[in-house]
Structures are given as C-alpha cells and as structure tokens.
C-alpha cells in the first residue's frame, strides 16, 4: 500500500445556470498522503469548498462533476469515487466511514431535535454491526477524546445546550466515530471566536497525529493555514494556482496571485500609516458609565436582565479612530448601536460635542432632537448585503440621506451622488443598478458613500470588513482612512479581528461581558497586553507565519 491515500485527478465541477455554466472547479489535481494536512486556501468563490465536496460526492444541485477521477486507496486497490455516483450503497460506505467531514456552522450541521448521543450512536451503528450499549460506550469515549467534560451526561444533551466551540467538538467526535482515514474540514473555525478557534485547531492537529489521519482543511484564513498546514493548495476562480509546502509557500510564493494574497494578509500584520495625533485632544464624544440592560422575559419582574453594556466609559477625540475588540457576545455591537440610540440606554451619559462647540447628551435626547444628529453621527454596518435595500437603486440609496436632510434639488442630488461614488472609487454611471449587481467589497463602498453623504463628524463602523475577503479588507480600510484625512472624521471601529484593529486604529478598547477590561494605545495593547483576557485574545490570533507555530506537539487542552 502506498503512502498516498487520495489521488484527485483533473476534477472539474460545473454549475449549469439558466443561461450559462459556472465552472466552479476546473481541472484540479492533488494527492493527499496519510498523516498529512493539506490546506486548500482561497477567497470566496474560488471553488475550494466545492472541491472538498466533490471528493465526497456531495456537490450541491445543480452542480455536477463533469470530468476527472478521485482515487481512494484501499487494501484491494483504488476506488474511483467519481465513478460511484452520488447515491447508492457503495458511496455511502465511504462517506462517514472512510472519509468524514465537518462543516462551518456547527449549529446547522447538528440536528436540534436529537441528542448528541443519538446522533453519534446512529453514525456508529450505520457503519458497524454493534449493539446500542457498545455504541454508547464508544460515543462517550469519543466525546472524552475531544475533551467534552462529563461525556456520559453530554450524550443526553442537545446541540443547543452547547456553545459553538463545544458543538464543533461534538461534530468532530461524530466525524471520528468510525475511525475515518480522511477528515475533510470545511472552514471548521470560521464561525468561532479566536480563542475557541485556537482550541479546535489544536484538537484537530492532536487527533490527526494520534491517528495518522489525512486532513483536507478548507479555509480562507492564511493565519490558520500557517498554523495547521503541511502542504497548501491555493485556488483562484476554480483553478489551482499553486501547490507547495507551507514553509516554502510563505517564504517564497511562486505565483503572482499567491504573492498578492499573502501581501494583503501581511499588510494587515503591521500598523498602517496613521496621521500623527495633535498635542491637545478635542473630544467629539465622551461616553461615561453607559449601561444597557435587556430585561429577561419571565424573570424581568424579579429584576433579571442581561447586562449587554455594563458601565462603559470611553472618549473619542476629533480625527481619532478608536477600536473596540471583543469576542461575540461581548456587547461591542450593542455599544455601537446604543450610541446612535438604536437601543435606548438604561443609564449613563453620551456627551456629544457638536460642530459649534455645544454639548448634548445623546442618552437623554428626544426622538426629534436625535434626528438632528443623524447627519453628524453615522453608521456603517457589517454586512453590506443586508444594509442596502435590495429594492432600491444605488442612486436612491445614496440620495436618501440627502433628500431627507438637505434642501438640494434633484439635479444637485444627482451630481452629489456622482461625486460620492467617485470618492469611494466606484464608476459614476452605476446609479440605476440594484445592490445585487455588486460584489461585497463594492457594496461596502456604496454603504460608505451613503455614510459620508452628509459630511458626518463621527462614524460608528460595526465590523465593516468582516464580511469581506482579505484582499479587499485593506482597500476598504485605506478608503476609510483617506476619508478621515479629507473630512477630519472620527471613527468608532468595532471589530473582532485584532489584525484589522492594529492596522487601522489609534487606540483600542478590549470588551468582555459588556465591560471594557483594558484600553490604551493600539501598539501598546497589541505588543504588551496587560489584562489576562487581552493576552489570551491576542495569543490566540493565528499569525500568518508558519515559523511562529507553537511546538508541533501541542497539548490538547480542554
């Protein structure tokens, strides 16, 4: 038996649409060896997930594998998975038993109406003729292997009782239940917080070394690649661009696309050029002891509440960018929305200094008084697909704040929309199109054009780059910085991504459970974090440099 477990040869996958055919994967070939981790990396739409699914004959309708072979080595010679078709006993015997898969969304890939135990036991009993008690014992051992505490009790719990990281562990346990030779992991950590991501990566790495599994790891994150890959396959528009060992790839990428991809990642690794701060700071917004408590349904009368924002004090100076980092559920998005009174605060003050020097407390303003501020304090949302009305043309979307808040004539508004589009680097003649005609990066530019239409003084940017591919992130950030220099804008920049914050912000506040645990200059926080939580957060960020990899013998920790 050779060392090569899986030979993928000239595989192409097509998605026939109404009029044309999308070639999602074109002529991809690679080998997967026993005990190795092959990372397939690429931006959204590069065909990396489709490639992984083709290996298991799981390509979604209407996609079809139109060419190529996938040879799975076995004791009695190779089996061509492509020839098996996507249904029937032969392919089912391979799925789950010889090749297992874990998915990006642990919430949607586990059944909410069956216990974790039922799902794992079913998986075991599908492939092996053993009785229920034995299967249950096996399942408990598996949960123990993936470091789920009290595995016996966990078997009888449901997926929704687990956190995201725990669910992904349960998913891994299920995938391992039949000792597969190959594990396909399709962005298994993308939906998780960085600290949880580090744990899951360590777990996969540890299990792989213990069992000698081959891992096909799909990701868009070069940091993760550097942490886990042995070899890397770079994909772009359905084609293989480059295949190399992980150290070679990061040290001397051969292809221009790989270099560009690495370049945009590395660009975010160091602080971007920032204007020098003036000697005397002028506060544009001073938040003091802001609280927002959501009452908890039945227990509201007993005083039960979720403290989404719990006594936050923060000052944003004119022309400054203040970052807020934290994991999901830390209250950073809620804080940003409270500043614009999308949620009314429970207590505290938000003192905003207007252009003429007068001060107002946003926390206590009436609705009509607040309306006057909407032109000065603006917001950019995370998902540009959701924040642009799909029923309105681009011109109407950008013109809306102008139409409401200014007395400009239709002609003047049209000219202004053209200028704004030009300012954010978009062609000026696209006004009559709808948002669905644009990619994520273009839509975010349009959303920024809407935000700056009224010449605001402060923009609350809620994860404006997280929905974008890495090569677009610094473009959007650079645009935002240019606008800052032009208009003297201040930003409150909310993000979970330390790299982006370091690139873009002057100061950064770290949030946890609704509180700010640490605040300071961005360089100081990133290089010498003081608070243990900040340390853990920064330590868990996968750095795009394989030489920084922790010892290969990572201890799998709970």
């Amino acid at each position: 038996m050779t060392d090569i477990l899986l030979k993928v040869r000239h595989v192409s996958v097509d998605f026939p649409l109404q009029k044309d055919i999308v070639h999602a994967v074109r002529d991809v070939s690679f080998d997967l060896r026993r005990g190795e981790t092959l990372c397939v990396v690429g931006e959204s739409g590069s065909g990396k997930s489709v490639t992984a699914r083709a290996v298991m004959q799981l390509v979604a309708e209407p996609g079809r594998i139109v060419a190529g072979q996938v040879h799975l080595a076995g004791p009695d010679g190779d089996t061509d998975i492509v020839a098996l078709g996507n249904r029937g006993a032969a392919i089912r015997a391979i799925r789950g038993r010889r090749i297992a898969m874990i998915f990006q969304e642990p919430m949607t890939s586990l059944s909410p109406v069956h216990t974790i135990g039922q799902q794992i036991i079913e998986m075991i009993r599908l492939h092996e003729k053993i009785d229920k008690a034995d299967a249950r014992r096996r399942a408990a051992q598996l949960l123990d292997r993936v470091r789920i505490p009290d595995p016996e009790a966990a078997l009888d719990r449901y997926a929704f009782e687990f956190s995201g990281g725990m669910r992904q562990r349960a998913m891994i346990a299920m995938a391992l239940s039949c000792n597969p030779e190959i594990l396909i992991a399709d962005e298994p950590t993308t939906a998780l917080d960085v600290t949880t991501q580090a744990e899951i990566l360590a777990l996969i790495r540890g299990l792989q070394q213990e069992r000698g599994m081959a891992v096909l790891f799909i990701t868009h994150d070069m940091g993760v690649v550097a942490q886990i890959a042995d070899r890397v396959l770079v994909m772009y528009q359905g084609r293989m661009i480059e295949e190399a060992g992980v150290f070679d790839l990061f040290a001397k990428p051969r292809e221009a696309y790989t270099r560009a991809l690495l370049g945009s990642v590395l660009k975010l690794e160091s602080p971007g050029p920032r204007p020098v701060r003036p000697q005397t700071e002028q506060a544009v917004m001073a938040i003091s002891d802001l609280c927002l408590h959501f009452p908890l349904g039945q227990r509201a009368r007993a005083g039960g509440s979720v403290k989404a924002v719990d006594g936050v004090s923060l000052t944003i100076n004119t022309g400054e960018t203040v970052g807020i980092v934290g994991e999901s559920g830390s209250g950073k998005t809620t804080l940003g929305r409270t500043l614009l009174r999308i949620y009314p605060p429970t207590s505290g003050q938000v003192t905003y200094t207007r252009d003429d020097g007068s001060k107002v407390d946003i926390a206590t303003l009436s609705k009509t008084q607040m309306k006057a501020l909407y032109g000065e304090v603006r917001m950019v949302f995370q998902d540009p697909h959701a924040s642009l009305n799909p029923r309105m043309t681009i011109a109407r979307i950008i013109a809306e704040p102008l139409r409401i808040n200014t007395a400009l004539s239709d002609r003047e508004i049209r000219d202004r929309v053209g200028q704004l589009l030009e300012r954010v680097g978009m062609p000026t003649d696209i006004g009559d199109r709808y948002p669905h005609a644009f990619s994520g990066g273009q839509r975010q530019r349009i959303a920024i054009a809407r935000a700056i239409a009224l010449r605001p003084r402060l923009i609350v940017a809620d994860e404006p780059t997280s929905a974008l591919d890495v090569s677009l992130r610094h473009q959007v950030l650079d645009l935002m910085r240019d606008l800052q220099t032009d208009y003297g804008l201040s930003y409150l920049f909310i993000s979970h991504d330390i790299a982006v914050v370091r690139y873009f912000c002057d100061r950064v506040a770290v949030m946890k459970n609704g509180r700010i645990v640490e605040i300071g200059d961005v360089a100081q926080i990133c290089e010498h974090p003081g608070h243990p939580y900040t340390k853990a957060l920064i330590g868990a960020v996968p750095r795009p440099d394989p030489t920084l990899r922790p010892d290969v013998q990572i201890r799998v920790q709970a």
């Binding site: 931006e43 699914r53 528009q237 029923r391 709808y434 669905h436 273009q442 959303a447």
Partner: protein, 384 residues
C-alpha cells in the same frame, strides 16, 4: 451553498456585468417575473386564471343564450356534441358545423322526458351569431354571441340543460362573473383591513401587537360555517339580490382579513430589524416614509402571493354558502347557486351534467392555488 461568484472587485467584474445585460439593472418585478417564468405549472395556471377572468369580463357575449331563458320542452336535456360535417343528401358530406336535435318522447311510467339524439335534425351553429339581446357592461345594446345556433329558436345545450330547461353553459359563464368577482373584491376588502391592522401590529409591536393578535385568534377560532350561517340569516329577506351580494362580500372579508394580517405582520416584524431599515432610520427618514418607501416594496410581492392564495378561499366560501341556500339567491347566478340543483338524488341519476359547475370550481381554485404558490416562490428573488 451559494453559487460561486467571481471574487474580483475590479473593473473586469463591472464590465462583465454590463455585458451580461439587463438582469443586473433589473428591478424586483423583472427578477420576480424571471423566476416565475421557470415555474411551469404556475405559469400555465396564470394563463388559465387570465382566461377565466376574461370569461367573467365578456360573459354576455361568450354565453350562447340568456342565463334566465327557459324552455320547459327541454327540461334536463343532455349535452349535445358539436359535429363539423353532415351528409349532404347525395351520399357525400358537406361542411356544416352543427349539433343534432332531439327526438323527445314521454316515458308513460315515470312521466319523464326521454331525449334521443336524432341525426336527421341538424341544427346549424356558427360563430358571432345573433341571439338573445343583452346590454353589454350597461353601455350598449347588442345581440351578438360568440357561438350559438343560427336560428335562435332552435335548442343548443353544449353542457345540457337544468330542470327548467335553461342552458347550463350560459349559466356557468354568467356564474363565473359573480363567483370570480366575489373572490377579487372580497379579497380587496380583506387586504385593506389586513394590511392596516397587520402593519400596525408588526411595526409597533408591544401591547398593540398583542391586542390585535388576540382579536385575530378569536376570529379564527370561531367555526366559519356557523358564523356565516348566523350572519347570512340575519340579512333581511326583502333585500334585493345586489344588496345581498355586497352583504355576503362584507361577511366573507370580515373573516378573511386575518390571514393577510398575519402575513403582513410577520414580514414587518422581520423587516423592522433588517440593517437596511435601521440604516434608513439613521438617515433620518420619517416613519411614514420608512414604511411606505423602504419597507412596503419588500412586501408587495408577498402580498400579491397572499391575495392569490386568499381568492380561492373566498370562492369556496361563497360556493358553500350559496350551496346551502344562505348565500346569493336566484336570479343571481353563481357557481354555488348552480350547485344547489345537485342537492337531490335525481340530479345524480338523471342529469349528472349538473355537476359541471363543481368541476369549474375545482379547476379555478386549483389554478389560483398553483398560481399563488408560484408567486410565493418567486416573491423573494434574493432567496436561493
């Protein structure tokens, strides 16, 4: 999984989109139409529903005779088939579109008329013939019918005749107008109540929402047939038929608005927290404009689907009421009124063609349901 999209963010993408043409600048209606066209059954249903409404619109001209015209000689006359050729008397055939007349004998035991088609009696028929006079849309008098016997005195019953010897086809065609318009107007009324109350409920939420929802639940918990019976029984007997027609409409919509109110409320609830609605609020948009220009356009398509699915319920309700004798009363002709004739055994044994209005109800309701289904699927062109 989403369909792969080109990842590049540059000019090439824009160029390709320009080349790809209209879809990228297409508004929501164009996208909905594009998606709807691919739903074959719904598309066929759309055509069928369109035809049915055309029939309703041109009922007088399409019906071969007046729906009230009766002829005791032809009580329960069976349907006649149309033939195109007749013997010319010289051994050959000639082209004469015709129906054959009847040889009527009286069964002395049961006192029943027995109709035997008599191939010698040729009743020539034609298109655009002169027949019973009528007033088209109340505008002008004419007597032109799309199809009918060349001699108005001769019998032509393509779908048979009822117990008074009235032409069933003509009555069904006239019934189409009443039944289909009850559906449309009734839903229009429900839509108004449903949109206002559902919109208020979904947009403001809280106590208002809870109050309106309890009212809806209460109305829906009342068994509909007894409720209609009660309301219909409360109508004074001396009301003219037209007034009864509108009273029935109001009764049906007072019950029917709840479904639409729920659809509208659900959409409002989910739209309220969408980023683009929050963004519009942060643009300083007034509440009225927020609802009318930012939220409503996302609702139109769903509302149209809800309407299409509500019309068949209205039609069925009217049919049921009229069938029970509590809805519309003769001389108004609706499908339900026509089906009253099938309440006895004699209809089943002797004149099964009297069930034809029932078949028409089934076809119309099915077509509307398929159409509504297709519209609902196409309603959100951004859903995969």
């Amino acid at each position: 999984m989403t369909a792969p999209v080109p990842p590049s963010d540059g000019a090439d993408l824009l160029d390709r989109q320009t080349a790809a043409g209209s879809l990228h600048a297409a508004g929501q209606w164009a996208l909905i139409w594009h998606k709807f066209r691919r739903h074959k059954v719904a598309y066929a249903s759309l055509i069928l529903v369109g035809l049915i409404y055309l029939v309703a619109l041109f009922a007088e001209a399409l019906a071969p005779s007046d729906p009230g015209k009766f002829d005791p000689r032809y009580t329960f006359a069976p349907p006649q088939a149309i033939s195109l050729f007749a013997p010319d008397g010289a051994g050959g055939t000639r082209f004469v579109p015709h129906v054959t007349g009847f040889d009527i004998t009286l069964d002395q035991q049961s006192f029943r008329r027995v109709f035997v088609p008599d191939p010698d009696q040729i009743i020539p028929i034609g298109l655009f013939v002169r027949g019973d006079p009528y007033r088209m849309w109340g505008l002008f008098d004419t007597d032109l019918h799309l199809i009918g016997p060349l001699d108005p005195g001769q019998p032509m019953f393509l779908l048979g005749a009822d117990r008074l010897g009235r032409d069933l086809l003509s009555r069904i065609i006239h019934g189409t107008r009443v039944s289909m318009s009850i559906g449309l107007v009734g839903v229009g009324l429900s839509l108004f109540i449903g949109m206002v109350l559902g919109g208020v409920s979904g947009y403001y939420g809280g106590l208002t929402d809870r109050a309106i929802q309890r009212v809806i639940e209460f109305i829906r918990s009342i068994p509909t047939i007894p409720l209609w019976l009660g309301l219909a029984a409360a109508m004074p007997k001396e009301w003219p038929p037209l007034q009864v027609y509108f009273a029935i409409l109001v009764i049906l919509s007072l019950v029917g608005w709840t479904e639409i109110a729920r659809v509208v409320r659900g959409r409002f609830l989910s739209l309220r927290t969408e980023d683009f609605v929050i963004a519009a609020r942060l643009d300083g948009v007034s509440e009225y404009r927020l609802i009318m220009t930012h939220m409503m356009p996302s609702l139109y398509s769903h509302i149209i689907a809800a309407i299409t699915l509500a019309i068949p319920n209205m039609i069925l309700a009217e049919t049921a009421l009229s069938f029970l004798g509590l809805g519309l009363q003769p001389p108004i002709v609706s499908w339900g009124v026509l089906l009253q004739d099938t309440q006895n055994l004699r209809a089943i044994t002797q004149a099964p063609w009297l069930f034809a209005p029932g078949v028409v109800v089934v076809v119309a309701v099915l077509a509307l349901n398929f159409l509504g289904d297709g519209l609902r699927d196409a309603a959100d062109p951004y859903e995969k």
